[in-house]
């Protein structure tokens, strides 16, 4: 696995809020075509890392390299255009939009025609619009939401909203997909379905960085992982080696060398 090229690299990335270092000099690597887990107790700085990668925050220090680009000071929409897409820990769908419209919005970068051509209703733009619609319907089906296209997204269950968010994130055909706790609030079967989907996406060439609290899912679905605590790197490697790491045991589970007591932390 270590011969696969690097897609994302964080070099001593730090983010301070006032005096607090939410992320304090984190370095880690995500390799192309892998499912990489980002783990750590609540408040460890995982969501902040995702916000830094997507440009919603800018690092206080350090640099983030993605696919040959330095993301330094780039605004979020330019970073998205490079091929990074994400979901949110607290689902953030657009209120007032149907499931289909949410995903269609996610297809914006791949719309294929200018805003003006779309406004003027030029034939090529109409065709592109229909293609984007068809693609959105396929993406909804892919996350198990076929037949919910016209439903106002905010009327759906939390789990369903999470799946629409994943479909929306896939609309831009990203190279890197960032999932912030995609299985939070889901039951076992639903979580397994998400894990399955993540594997399918990886096999179709996507790279995935996911924050996940369920250790079972991490060992089952992640190829590699990064463990953080207090904004710093604690361990890195295969899920098994991370979980067995005594430091991780101490920080994450409060006791050393007791791998059997591993519980999903949420």
């Amino acid at each position: 696995m270590h011969d696969t090229p690097t897609l994302l690299q964080l070099r001593a990335v730090a983010k301070h809020f006032g005096g607090v270092a939410a992320v304090g000099g984190l370095s880690t690597t995500v390799r192309k075509g892998t499912v990489h887990g980002l783990i750590g107790p609540n408040g460890a700085g995982k969501t902040t890392v995702i916000n830094l990668i997507t440009g919603l925050f800018h690092p206080t220090d350090g640099e983030i390299l993605f696919d040959g680009h330095n993301l330094e000071a780039k605004p979020p929409h330019e970073i998205a255009a490079l091929g990074i897409s994400r979901t949110y820990q607290n689902v953030r769908l657009f209120s007032g939009m149907s499931a289909l419209e949410q995903v269609l919005t996610g297809c914006f970068l791949k719309r294929g025609s200018s805003l003006f051509a779309s406004f003027a209703g030029l034939p090529a733009a109409r065709r592109n619009w229909e293609e984007a619609r068809a693609k959105s319907l396929l993406l909804l089906a892919r996350v198990g939401m076929a037949g919910k296209a016209d439903v106002l997204a905010e009327t759906l269950s939390y789990g369903e909203q999470r799946r629409i968010e994943i479909a929306r994130a896939l609309g831009s055909d990203p190279k890197l997909l960032l999932l912030d706790e995609p299985t939070a609030g889901m039951n076992h079967a639903e979580s397994q379905a998400i894990g399955q989907l993540v594997h399918e996406l990886r096999d179709s060439g996507l790279t995935i960085l996911m924050v996940e609290h369920n250790m079972g899912l991490v060992t089952e679905f992640c190829d590699s992982c990064t463990v953080m605590n207090f904004g710093k790197l604690l361990a890195e490697g295969t899920p098994r080696s991370c979980i067995d790491d005594p430091e991780v045991q101490a920080a994450y589970f409060g006791r050393k060398n007791d791998a059997k007591r591993i519980q999903p932390v949420g």
């Binding site: 997507t54 440009g55 919603l56 605004p75 979020p76 929409h77 970073i79 998205a80 255009a81 897409s85 994400r86 949110y88 953030r92 657009f94 209120s95 007032g96 939009m97 149907s98 419209e101 269609l104 919005t105 996610g106 914006f108 970068l109 719309r111 025609s113 805003l115 779309s118 406004f119 003027a120 209703g121 619009w129 089906a141 198990g144 939401m145 076929a146 037949g147 919910k148 296209a149 016209d150 439903v151 106002l152 009327t155 929306r168 609309g171 831009s172």
Partner: protein
Amino acid sequence: MEAILDFWAAYSATIAFGLVNSFIALSCYAVLSAGVLSFTTVMFAAVGGFVAAQMIGMFALPPLVAFLFAGVAGGVAAAVIAVIFLRLETHWMALASLALVLITRVVVLNTPTLTGGVQGMLVPVRVSVLELFLALAVTAFVFYRMHNSWYGLVSRAVREDPSVASTMGISTYRVQFIAFLISGAVGGIGGAALATTLQFISADTYFLALAFTMIASTVLGGSFHWFGPIVGAFVFTALPTTMQAVLPEIQDVAKGVVLLVIMILLPRGLVDPRVLKLRLSRSPKTAEQPDA
């Protein structure tokens, strides 16, 4: 017979002002639907109004041609304003736009060669109700096309959650800049429509009362669909005449109460596409299909 004629006179004036206020409300909606609360419409209307009045005075243009110039002038003014305003935080933008309303008045009063200053300006041409209707129909068609295009979709996304929209590759600056251009053009046309309807304009024509008409019509009609501001403008315009006819003694109070009641009962306005979508959501067709 005389009574009927009197009634018609009042009635057609209400329709004319309903049409004029529709432009003003649509100008407000253009930016509000992209997440910007701004009173800059008043300034765009002033620019359009005085440009149209000058053009008509100098070249005896027909009203609809003057509207075109007013729209372009309003759009240019909006481009300048957008470059400055889009640097500000949202709530500061609203405040700055109110300041701009005051500045507009001072500028109008102090440039008598362009605006007639304290004397104001006579507009020698009157626009007909039919012409106003045609101009509004074209404008509404433009809004209809926008609503059903990528621009409409992403402006709704920017309004609901600008940072989420930005992580989907949408430049909020670009969307809101376009919104300002549209607001400027439509506001300019609205100002020209007002000038050619009143046939006299001054600094007071484009002042706080217009700001109030703009925001009340948009909120009343609903700011989630382009048809809302038009409905809102007509209701808001007809309200004083209606109240005068029904409750002449307390018409001002009654008008305020009716506005409040509508806003409390329908906080999203008279026209709300969400209601339709909710109905679609509950239709059995969508509920019964199994997940794929």
